[in-house]
Each structure stands twice: as structure tokens, then as C-alpha cells.
């Protein structure tokens, strides 16, 4: 079955060349990579604002561009919602007229969209009088009301502060969860990626370096990708009811973990574990303050530089965790691939605000 997004395109512009192939299913597909890696150009090509020289673009099985078959659906007929960092509301029109600018039939009514986004009270205002977060919500609403089959969001939260970002992320999740709208999401911001991404696409110098589920991308630890991803790994966990001394027990496929509570019990969350916060022991330790001990096997051991090692441990339940330790410690413990060891993670190292996400 064709995925929601199927792209294989190439183009050159001055000194820049883009040659990217990717396919992604429903949900939120995050494009990330350094500035100038071609993320926005790729998004522009999908929206129909940039014409590739070769290749094809299909969204939900509908071919939008195919150089070989001379298909190039104009932007106005592509049904691609496009939300940028600058909300780009039409400054001379009221919020209401911005929202209803599109003549296309949308599945959603104006009231539903203003309800979801909480912008019903802004309808008669002009964009200039809105705050950054309000503007961005109106921009999302305007895109939704054009009846899109795919929503492109190009750094939609980049101009907002951390609190506003956290406020807007549930709205973006609800696009996927309640509206089942595929989203192509561009960002540099890893807390956003960890919270939102179903699929991650790493881009660099106009090429796709890697694409796959978030956990797999983070755990890969590939030499050529290490500079593109944070040093750490993600484990999916379910918080249980009842805190003990302010710590909550999270059930994970790799075993229980005890962390400060950040969300209500029940829904799954993603835990981002920084490789620098993970220590290694040969035996289950006694007499240490660390609360989280997960047993696993050393999957790979990479020498990073004169003094550091990167370890990847395979844990129970097909989970993986990365640890950054010194070469000295590695030699002392006699670490080698295939060894059974224990990962020690301090509970206080978790950022409560951003690195959790509801998955239910």
C-alpha cells in the first residue's frame, strides 16, 4: 500500500542541489537537519511552490508531480496545507476572513476548527493585534479549513518561546490523533521531535541521510549520523498510579523506572534518556542513590575520541539505550560487545516539561 507521502525528487538551484527520496506513512513525519540541508525546499516542492527537475511526488496515492509523465498539479489544486514559522496571515483581513479565505470545501466547519484551536474569541480581530501563539493557531486553522490532505508545517513553533511551544504541541498532536491528518513537520528542535515524531527523516546537504521511526533513528548510533542526532535514546513508558515520595513508577518494556511524574496515569509517554546520564555496572549495584537499573547486552561499542566511548545496549522488550562513558572506565570494566551489563539512570536527569509525550 502506498504511504501517505511518497517523494523522490531532484533539483538544482545555483550552488545548491537537492536529491531526496522518502516515503512515510500517516502520522507526523519530521524533517530535520542543519540549516541549508534542503528541508524547506523539499516542503516547497510538495506544496507545489518549487518545481523539481526530476522525480515524482505523491500524497495519499495521488500523483502531484511526475517529471516523466509531465504531471505538475498547480499549488492551488494540491490540497496541501502550508504553515510557516511566520504565520503569514493576510494583514488586511480579519481573523474570520483569513480563516475562510479558501474556497475549497473542507470536512471541518469554522466552528469546529475555532473550537479545536481555541480561537473563537479572535474572529473579528486583525492579525496585527494577535500574539505570536494566537497567530500561529489562526494560521493552522486557515490551513485546516482549506480541506488539506496533508499539512506541511515548516518550523511552526520556532518563533515562539518554550512555554508557547508546549502550549501549541497538543494542538498539533490532535491534528494527527483526532483528524487523522498526515503532517510533514520541519524542525531543528529535538524536544519537539521527541514529542511529536512518528517518523524522522534526517537531511543533510540536500540528501536524505536516514529515515525511520524515532527510536530506531536515535538508537542507530551510526558513525555518519551521530552529528545529526542528540546523544541519547527514547523509551516508551506508561506511568502507573500512586507516587512514592514524589516519584512515579513507569512501566517500560525494558523494566520499571522511577521518575518524577509529568503526566496523568494511563497514557504512554516517551522518555528521552541522555547518553551522558547513563552509567554502566557489571552487576546490579547496591548502595548507590540511582533509582533506575535496567539490564541489557552491549550491542555496539564505538570509540568516539581519545577519551570517550559510545555504548549501545539492547534491553528487554526490544528497547535500546545509549551510554557515554570514558575509555578508561570501559577498559577497567573490560567492556566488549555481547557482554551483559546494567544501565544506571539517575531519576533527576529527566526534563519534565518537554521530553514526555502522550501517546494514547
Amino acid at each position: 500500500m502506498a504511504g501517505a507521502i511518497d517523494i523522490d525528487i531532484g533539483l538544482r538551484r545555483g550552488g545548491f542541489s537537492l536529491s531526496a527520496a522518502l516515503s512515510a506513512g500517516a502520522g507526523i513525519t519530521v524533517l530535520t537537519g542543519p540549516s541549508g540541508s534542503g528541508k524547506s525546499t523539499l516542503a516547497g516542492a510538495v506544496a507545489g511552490l518549487v518545481r523539481p527537475e526530476r522525480g515524482h511526488i505523491a500524497v495519499n496515492g495521488e500523483t502531484l508531480f511526475d517529471a516523466g509523465r509531465r504531471i505538475d498539479v498547480p499549488a492551488a489544486r494540491r490540497r496541501i496545507g502550508y504553515v510557516l514559522q511566520d504565520s503569514l496571515l493576510f494583514p488586511h483581513l480579519s481573523v474570520r476572513r483569513n480563516l475562510t479565505y479558501s474556497n475549497r470545501k473542507a470536512d471541518l466547519a469554522l466552528e469546529q476548527v475555532t473550537g479545536i484551536l481555541g480561537i473563537g474569541h479572535l474572529l473579528e480581530r486583525k492579525p496585527a493585534s494577535l500574539s505570536g501563539g494566537e497567530r500561529q493557531r489562526v494560521a493552522i486553522g486557515r490551513a485546516l479549513l482549506s480541506g488539506p490532505s496533508l499539512l506541511i508545517m515548516d518550523e511552526p513553533l520556532a518563533s515562539l518561546d518554550a512555554a508557547r511551544r508546549a502550549e501549541l504541541m497538543p494542538f498539533i498532536e490532535s491534528l494527527r490523533d483526532t483528524l487523522a491528518l498526515p503532517v510533514l513537520y520541519i524542525t531543528h528542535n529535538w524536544p519537539e521531535i521527541i514529542r511529536l515524531a512518528d517518523t524522522v527523516v534526517l537531511m543533510e546537504q540536500g540528501e536524505v541521510r536516514a529515515a525511520g521511526p524515532l527510536q530506531a533513528i536515535l538508537a542507530a548510533g551510526d558513525e555518519g549520523l551521530r552529528h545529526l542526532v542528540p546523544d541519547g535514546s527514547v523509551i516508551e513508558a506508561t506511568p502507573t498510579a500512586g507516587d512514592v515520595d514524589g516519584l512515579c513508577r513507569f512501566e517500560t518494556p525494558a523494566g520499571p523506572m522511577f521518575l518524577p511524574r509529568a503526566s496523568s496515569p494511563g497514557g504512554k509517554v516517551r522518555l528521552f534518556i541522555d547518553a551522558h546520564d547513563v552509567a554502566i555496572a557489571l552487576e546490579p549495584p547496591r548502595g548507590v542513590s540511582v533509582q533506575n537499573v535496567l539490564g541489557g547486552t552491549i550491542d555496539s561499542l564505538t570509540i568516539l575520541d581519545d577519551s570517550h566511548l559510545d555504548l549501545r545496549l539492547a534491553l528487554a522488550g526490544e528497547q535500546a539505550i545509549r551510554a557515554r562513558i570514558t575509555r578508561h572506565a570501559g577498559a577497567q570494566l573490560g567492556l566488549r560487545e555481547g557482554m551483559a551489563v546494567f544501565a544506571l539512570i539517575k531519576s533527576v536527569s529527566f526534563d519534565r516539561r518537554l521530553q514526555f509525550r502522550n501517546l494514547d
Binding site: 507545489g48 511552490l49 492551488a76 496545507g81 502550508y82 493585534s129 482549506s146
Partner: protein, 231 residues
């Protein structure tokens, strides 16, 4: 005693008529050329740019002469107009309007072009992704947001037309009631023995007119800017 002599009233009304007609007729072309120069890439763009700006850089008399040889009775286009439609432009008030319009054209284009360039092209792109046709984008996004520049272009063009002298006297001559606009009337007064008092009155009239025109355009520009940006 009336405020203005018949001679002055005639020149004033003629000036207003010529300027209004010149601006009204050249405005659609100015908007179109400004949009082409601001938004499109095409072969010959720099040639068009130079042509549009020519009246700004060559002596007005040159423009008047060029108009005479093209639109004059014996001119290439003028002869054809005369033969086919029996229309003669040279030495009529229409000639004065054409001369003023051509001279004002680059100023209008510049003001409008700057204003189109100041419209974020991404607004137009977003409108396209929302399903709007190119025509709808132009009419509902680009032109409304360009309105302050269009108002400025009209004001500049109108002021330029009121002051037009060299091209007008060359192409339309200096005929009372036909092509003797305020600057030409002033020139005529200065050339008459003892005409200094009359000339002074025309100078004052010109200045008052300029102040009025600028004041009105300033008010309109403020209104329009408020309408467009909401602040």
C-alpha cells in the same frame, strides 16, 4: 472682485483636467508595469525598465519631441490615427495630458513597484496553497496590500503632471484654454512686459495647489495604510 482672473481660472482648471486625465489613464499601465518589474522574470526586462525610466533621465523637451514625431500629425502613429479615425492629438489638451502622463509614468511605476516588492511573496504562495487562482491572489492579496503605494503613486504622478512644462510645450504647444496649464501660463506671464505681478499670483496659486494636493494624498495614504495593516 473674484479671487482669480479668468486667465488664471482657465489655467488652473486646465491643469487639474490634464493632470487628472493623465493620472487616470496611465494608472492601470503603471500598476501592470510595476507588477511585471516587481514579480516577473522575462527576457527584455531590463530594456522595459530603462524605457520606463527614460522620461526621468532625459530632458523633458526630448520626450516632447519624441511624442511629436510619433503621435504628431505627420508622426508614425499620429498619421495612422488621423487617417483611420480622424483623430489628431498634437496641440490639443489631450496632447498635454499625454505629455504629462508620460513624464509622470516612471514616478508612478517606482512608487507602486516598491510597494509590490514590500508585499511578502510568501503571502501570495500561501494564498495559492489555499486554492486561490493567480487572478484571485492578485485581486485579494497583492493589490489590496499595494494600495498605500498606489495612493503614493497617484499623488506623485498628479504633482508631476501639475508641474509638467518641457514636454507639454513641445508636444502640445502653449495655446490658451487648450494646453496653457499653470506652468505654461506662468512662463507666458514672465515673457510679457510688466507681467511680474501676474506671475507672482500664479506662483502663489501653484504653491497653494501643491500644498492641497500633498495634504489630501497624505490623508488618503494614512487611511489606506490603516485599512491595510489594521494599525
Amino acid at each position: 472682485m473674484p479671487l482669480l482672473t479668468p486667465f488664471e481660472t482657465e489655467a488652473l482648471l486646465l491643469s487639474l483636467k490634464v493632470a487628472a486625465a493623465a493620472v487616470a489613464c496611465s494608472l492601470p499601465f503603471a500598476v501592470a508595469v510595476a507588477w511585471l518589474l516587481a514579480r516577473k522574470e522575462f527576457p527584455g526586462k531590463s530594456v522595459l525598465n530603462v524605457l520606463v525610466h527614460l522620461p526621468l533621465v532625459v530632458p523633458p523637451v526630448v520626450i516632447g519631441y519624441l511624442l511629436l514625431v510619433t503621435l504628431g500629425r505627420k508622426g508614425i502613429v499620429g498619421a495612422w490615427l488621423d487617417e483611420t479615425f480622424g483623430i489628431v492629438i498634437a496641440f490639443t489638451w489631450i496632447a498635454a495630458a499625454v505629455a504629462s502622463g508620460v513624464m509622470a509614468f516612471p514616478l508612478m511605476v517606482r512608487a507602486i513597484r516598491l510597494s509590490i516588492e514590500a508585499v511578502d511573496a510568501r503571502l501570495e504562495s500561501v494564498a495559492r496553497t489555499l486554492g486561490a487562482s493567480h487572478a484571485r491572489v492578485l485581486l485579494t492579496i497583492t493589490l489590496p496590500l499595494t494600495l498605500p503605494g498606489i495612493v503614493a503613486g497617484i499623488a506623485l504622478g498628479f504633482a508631476r503632471c501639475l508641474g509638467e512644462f518641457g514636454a507639454t510645450i513641445t508636444f502640445a504647444s502653449n495655446i490658451p484654454g487648450v494646453s496653457r496649464t499653470l506652468p505654461l501660463a506662468l512662463y507666458t506671464a514672465l515673457n510679457m512686459p510688466g507681467g511680474e505681478a501676474n506671475a507672482l499670483r500664479l506662483v502663489v496659486l501653484s504653491i497653494v495647489l501643491a500644498f492641497l494636493a500633498l495634504g489630501i494624498s497624505e490623508l488618503m495614504a494614512r487611511r489606506v495604510t490603516k485599512m491595510v495593516t489594521g494599525v
